[in-house]
Symmetry: C3
Subunit: 352 residues, 3 copies
């Protein structure tokens, strides 16, 4: 009996199929420190227990994107080991905060399938959910990914393309229980700009760049127990269309988030992704820059102390973002763009 | 008085000589996370406190190979700072599990000595033992290593070649106290294959490859406070026969173990090494693949719930292992092979 | 309103100006492990809770230089984001030990300003202080740094050059409260040499070298949330006078300290820097070696058990230090020298 898994290929998936992903993981203070070491994030809420306690939390929660990395990493061996590309995210929403000592596990359900016209691959839509040791939802999202077929001749399931919401509604964003903005310390957080100070259309250049090494992105994906082959195998990488290893797209998201501190320091929680795409590949040696635009500002029902900002952040490689590289009127991206992410962050409001 | 140690050379060793090695080390949750980040290991027992508690342990124990790395690292300044090569291991057996918060220290006794015919070096056999803060054995092994002479003309001790057992007996393998397989969760562990499903002669290709960077192996050896010069000094490395730094052989063992998850996910504990050799050198940039053969299956005295598998695992560089690169009939290894390890893992049995 | 900070330029500073730096940081066991992994430090006091408890401390304190890295990192966005070079340190003194769980924050006051004759930059002197969550001083120092002007034409403040003490006095060194040398374990610490065994003028070659990769120094500076551009941005680095990224000078200090274990293993605490300069730049791929000279030995008031050694340590790149590369009679440094540091370490004395 063959005991080795080569992962699922497109023809192996069925709509409604459920996966319970392997290797629950207890996250610790070490994951918090490594998240800082890998991306240089400076948000006070994830850096200081004292700051977090000042806003009513038991201690510093783990970075929201770390939760994303761990959950998506668990899904890889079942869903995307044979992925061609990660295509998109929707209805992507964080739940209860995750603290050191919490153990995360993940499960997924197949929502849709569509073979590509070349019959070499197809698109798989899954809903994946991460939960803590109490079964509480920490992250829930729809992702679609292009997966190779094992055999181009293999028959496939009927096409099902699920409908996903164009954006997460403000009223569906989760504000951590017990959060109390009265003790929010702008000085420690590094900014006096609050929710009221941002307006739709405003653009922010996050200025700095950070170079990504092969060693860095492999370190992060191993930490997340993400086994996607394209990131780890330089030998096999030589024979791909890129001729080399590909950095994990999530690494770029975290770098963008860390860079966004300069301008968004009070955006203390990533609450949801509305949509996102990895526009181009990133490789070891690339330097990542980022800029953002405020798409929308939304109050939250029942809260006078916290509001939501809908941001669009663009990351570009080897291209400082003072001239706002993005998507042209022709629908084509500036060649330096590697990430285009539409997401909600929570930010303190001015208290009356 | 010279306060600097240049390490011991072959002519400095005496049979019966004892070493108490410096720098006890308290291992923490951070070492657990870094072990995952360095190798991408996915064994549930070392990843999840919930999983470990489900089988009767207080929390997730630290990876067995991490214990090996820390203990062997402590011995380097006294035993192998001037090593030419690490030649072999025998009677290599893990004791009580190690948990975050435990402090490890190590001591060694010289068992044997044999000068090489070129008089430039010789082989030193040592027995080394790692203990926790309660003096309990966590690892005990014999290692032999080729060590430079300071002066080829120096007189040496009489040759003593110790006898070592060809393999660790199943009855000498340590099963962690309190282990209870009734709560073992195959789904979380990632495999439904248990001890009964493996048969001698069965071969398993672990499929994936992982590229090792210079940054990675230096990071790991520094973490283990292993000071062996060949790993750290690129400047001196230029003048060696390899013309560069050499990766720590233990790094390759841990990569092999991590890769073996695909096919051996329920092999939850490395209990002993019977024999092992670092067949060839590994350098930054090499991609490691691995395959394994089941050599023997052994029940354990007094246990119906856990059995032992004697495995032979081969790691090869820049060579996927679908064609089982190994040792030919002529006794010569395939040129890609870098590690040949004979070891015992513990695995749950099917409960009646 | 522009929400992005480009850091302060020389003309933005005023004598007496105060900064409260952003992002307090809770340090954990992970920072202790990463400090070992980044530099290979082997001092027992920072490695073993058992050792630390043996000398009266609650547990292993965090490495003194880690405290330095974290505090100085916090000052960068306000003080040295636009630095040309870090010029010197004075009155640099550690206070209470820092333990896992402590939260550090930092503040600074501008002491002096002097524009350079080329009007393109100027020197800024600041006093910076790190404190723990109880407000206790953990580190206090004066640093001067050359900072770019935004606009060479901009008017500047009057020149004020502060006077700093040439050295920290032994009586001002902080011995951790509760320290009791009676239980100091030389064997665990790795040396039988105590304070009495060192004499002014004695030189120690620390022998080993360690190669620094770009990945390593970026990992460390991100961990310290140090945002200095010169370290992270390989793209912008191409257009600098070096044509590449520059390693963080503090990384070299920590490598020197780790290397100094071989000869100074009982120098358990770095208590003060008297003076220090980063003599030359270090880049990824350089191999760091170090040697030291004992400048002075000083008893400490009221203590028979601990004394202070004033050391001068030199780090050199790609140059083993057996021939003591340093500063020539002409005042010029050997071209391999990258660091010249004058500092105090505490060491146990022989008990009567």
């Amino acid at each position: 009996m063959n005991k080795t898994s080569n992962g699922n290929f497109f023809e192996d998936f069925r709509v409604g199929q459920e996966f319970r992903h392997a290797t629950p993981r207890t996250l610790t203070e070490a994951d918090a420190a490594l998240n800082i070491a890998l991306y240089g994030s400076r948000f006070a809420i994830n850096s200081s227990d004292v700051f977090a306690q000042g806003i009513g939390l038991p201690r510093a929660p783990l970075d929201d994107l770390l939760v994303f990395h761990v959950v998506i990493g668990k899904t890889v061996p079942d869903i995307s080991l044979n992925a061609v590309a990660n295509l998109g995210y929707a209805e992507f929403r964080w739940g209860v905060p995750v603290y050191p000592g919490d153990t995360l596990s993940a499960h997924s359900t197949v929502l849709g399938l569509r073979e590509n016209s070349n019959k070499a691959s197809g698109v798989v839509w899954v809903r994946s959910t991460g939960v803590n040791q109490r079964g509480e939802m920490v992250l829930d999202y729809v992702r679609w990914v292009m997966v190779h077929k094992r055999d181009p001749q293999a028959p496939v399931q009927p096409t099902v393309v699920p409908t996903t919401a164009p954006a997460v509604k403000p009223e569906d964003l989760v504000v951590p229980a017990g959060l109390s903005i009265a003790g929010y310390d702008d000085g420690a957080a590094g900014s006096s700009h609050r929710w009221e100070d941002y307006a739709p259309g405003e653009r922010i250049d996050h200025v700095s760049g950070i170079t990504l090494e092969d060693s860095d992105h492999m370190f992060s994906t191993r930490l997340y127990q993400n086994t996607a082959r394209v990131h780890f195998d330089a030998f096999a990488g030589k024979n791909t269309r890129f001729g080399r290893r590909l950095a994990y797209g999530g690494h770029v998201i975290s770098l963008m988030r860390a860079l966004s501190f300069n301008g968004l320091a009070n955006g203390f929680r990533v609450a949801a992704f509305n949509a996102g795409s990895h526009v181009g590949p990133t490789f070891g040696g690339d330097t990542i820059y980022a800029w953002s635009e405020v798409l929308e500002t939304a109050p939250l029902p029942g809260r006078r102390d916290v509001g939501a900002l809908r941001m669009r952040s663009i990351a570009a490689k080897d291209c400082p973002c003072g001239e706002w590289p993005g998507k042209g009127a022709d629908g084509k991206y500036h060649p330096a763009v590697v990430l285009d992410l539409d997401y909600w962050v929570l930010m303190p409001r001015r208290l009356a």
